[in-house]
């Protein structure tokens, strides 16, 4: 069959401006300000990334157990020796030395219990909030200023930090000092509870803490270490 060739006498139709069928569309969501039905981001304040760190002397009772009380080294240029790096990172060598010289043990970011090892870091960015970093055991909520700790995750991490040897166990003298402090607090609370009944439960809580520390002390009772004897020379007669 011979092919039809365009007649040189017919006018060129040009580009087809009105194709048959409906015009193409693509999804579109208008920005409508306050009426937008979208999950709002958490409303918490900006938080810089922070190294968790532990001081061997900073222990306390947390969740009914003797646990370290971590401090935080903020990764903010200008704070405690942190320097800004080209490309947006921070240089932390001076900061780490600064804290180590003062007895702190900065906890490496990848120190995670086996159940959380897939995370790679104990820090997480909060989606939708600029420059805001929390730890994985801290919870934020859409549209809210609420900021909570998941105790189960936190204690799992903290206990792992101790059991894995990243920080040394609590020293005996620290337990003894805590026991003295809690005993004094308990006595004051008992006094107060006599005139202010609302202090009753506080005094009971403190009594439980004192018991816990006493039990801990009992477990640790050992003979005192033998030191070099101090010789006091008596004047000759």
């Amino acid at each position: 069959m011979a092919s039809k060739s365009a007649s040189p006498f017919q006018p060129d139709p040009g580009p087809q401006l009105l194709p048959p069928g409906p015009a193409a569309t693509k999804p579109f969501t208008p920005k409508v300000g306050g009426h937008e039905r979208r999950t709002p981001p958490p409303q918490i304040d900006r938080r810089p990334p922070m190294y968790q760190m532990v001081l061997p002397e900073r222990w306390g009772l947390d969740g009914g157990k003797l646990r370290p009380i971590p401090g935080t080294a903020k990764l903010v240029p200008g704070m405690s020796g942190v320097e800004a790096m080209r490309g947006g990172g921070v240089r932390v060598g001076t900061m780490l030395t600064h804290y180590r010289e003062r007895g702190w043990i900065p906890i490496p970011l990848d120190t995670l219990p086996p159940s959380q090892a897939h995370r790679g870091s104990y820090l997480c960015e909060v989606e939708g909030v600029e420059d805001t970093v929390v730890c994985y055991w801290q919870q934020v909520f859409p549209g809210s200023r609420e900021f909570r700790r998941n105790d189960e995750l936190y204690y799992e991490w903290l206990d792992y930090v101790v059991s894995s040897g990243v920080v040394p166990p609590c020293q005996d003298y620290v337990v003894a000092r805590l026991l003295e402090e809690k005993t004094a607090e308990h006595r004051k609370a008992v006094d107060r509870a006599r005139s202010h009944p609302s202090w009753g439960p506080i005094a009971e809580d403190l009594a439980a803490e004192v018991q816990l520390l006493r039990a801990e002390m009992k477990k640790r009772m050992r003979p005192a270490p033998q030191g070099k004897p101090v010789i006091i020379e008596e004047p000759s007669a």
Binding site: L55, K74, P77, G78, M79, G81, E83, G103, H196
Partner: protein
């Protein structure tokens, strides 16, 4: 009969007119004056480094003499010292506005004067932020996790500083929750037996900076939300001279051009004009840093965050 209503008259009405009321959005706008408990270091320009060393020496009565017999040989005493590195870094922000927006601005904020005032307030707030962020890192802690702060928390911190031989006057930087808890406890349990010299809005108090709450037992107390909130507790701290050193370099040593101004000898204020895009920018930068020097000069205080 056709009555004129706002609907029928709509073509002749403007959609909105500014009320003439301008409120500031909520923010922590506190500031710290040059309090004696803080060590401020200036003159950090032209030294060839961004890192400086702060020192503390065991002199002026630090070591007591040792007793010797008449023929005994005196042994050398080691000169004790401590040091901390202070690093300064650039902190900056920039606002931009198009020419048309500036032209129709009825609030009078899209101009250099308003932006310069913002730059000064920003620097004050930032200096407070820097110091507040260091409050949770003292080795000594007072207050219990998750519990309300009490007058005892405050008194214990003060006593710990006295025992550590820290010179006064002391400065206390507290989250509002801790401050409120202590105030409640003082009012509820201690009655009038604790001295309280509350801020009384005198002119003198103005000089102490925004966030100043008063002087309690010789401690100047400030509140701020710039302190650490660890999702269980909020942290504050009380300290004396030697705990914190902060430094701020003067941009006045830069080779400034006609659009740059130095404010308060601390802030580089820059007006940036982009004619092609009809854009005016106002930038501010400070070159500052803060660090802890002597840990025992401070005590961290905490209380439950709610």
């Amino acid at each position: 009969m056709t009555t004129v209503t706002t609907t029928t008259f709509a073509n002749q009405l403007v959609s909105e007119k500014h009320l003439g009321v301008l409120a500031l959005l909520l923010a922590d706008r506190g500031s710290l004056p040059n309090h004696p408990a803080l060590i401020e270091k200036t003159g950090l320009e032209g030294e060839g480094t961004t890192t400086f060393k702060g020192s503390a020496l065991g002199l002026m009565g630090y070591d007591l003499p040792t007793g010797y017999s008449e023929t005994g040989t005196v042994t050398s005493t080691a000169l004790s010292d401590a040091t901390a590195s202070l690093t300064i870094a650039r902190k900056a922000k920039l606002y931009n506005a198009k020419g048309l927006a500036r032209l129709v601005d009825s609030l009078g904020v899209l101009n250099s004067q308003a932006m310069a005032m913002d730059a000064v307030a920003t620097m004050n707030s930032f200096l407070l932020y820097q110091v507040a962020q260091l409050m949770d890192n003292f080795a000594t802690i007072k207050g219990s996790s998750g519990a309300d702060g009490t007058a005892a928390t405050f008194l214990d911190a003060r006593t710990a500083l006295k025992i550590a031989k820290v010179e006064g006057p002391y400065l206390s930087i507290e989250p509002p929750r801790l401050y409120g808890d202590i105030l409640d406890d003082v009012a509820f349990n201690a009655g009038g037996s604790i001295q309280w010299n509350a801020d009384c809005q005198e002119m003198l108090s103005v000089a102490k900076g925004l966030g100043y709450e008063g002087n309690h037992l010789g401690v100047d107390r400030y509140t701020t939300t710039h302190v650490l909130d660890d999702s269980t507790d909020v942290w504050g701290g009380m300290f004396g001279r030697g705990a914190i050193v902060y430094g701020i370099a003067s941009p006045g040593k830069l080779d400034l051009n006609a659009d740059q101004v130095v404010l308060l000898n601390r802030i580089l204020f820059d007006r940036i004009r982009d004619f092609a895009n009809d854009e005016q920018g106002w930038g501010m930068a400070i070159y500052a840093g803060a660090t802890e020097l002597l840990d025992l000069c401070g005590v961290s205080m905490r209380c439950g965050r709610s």
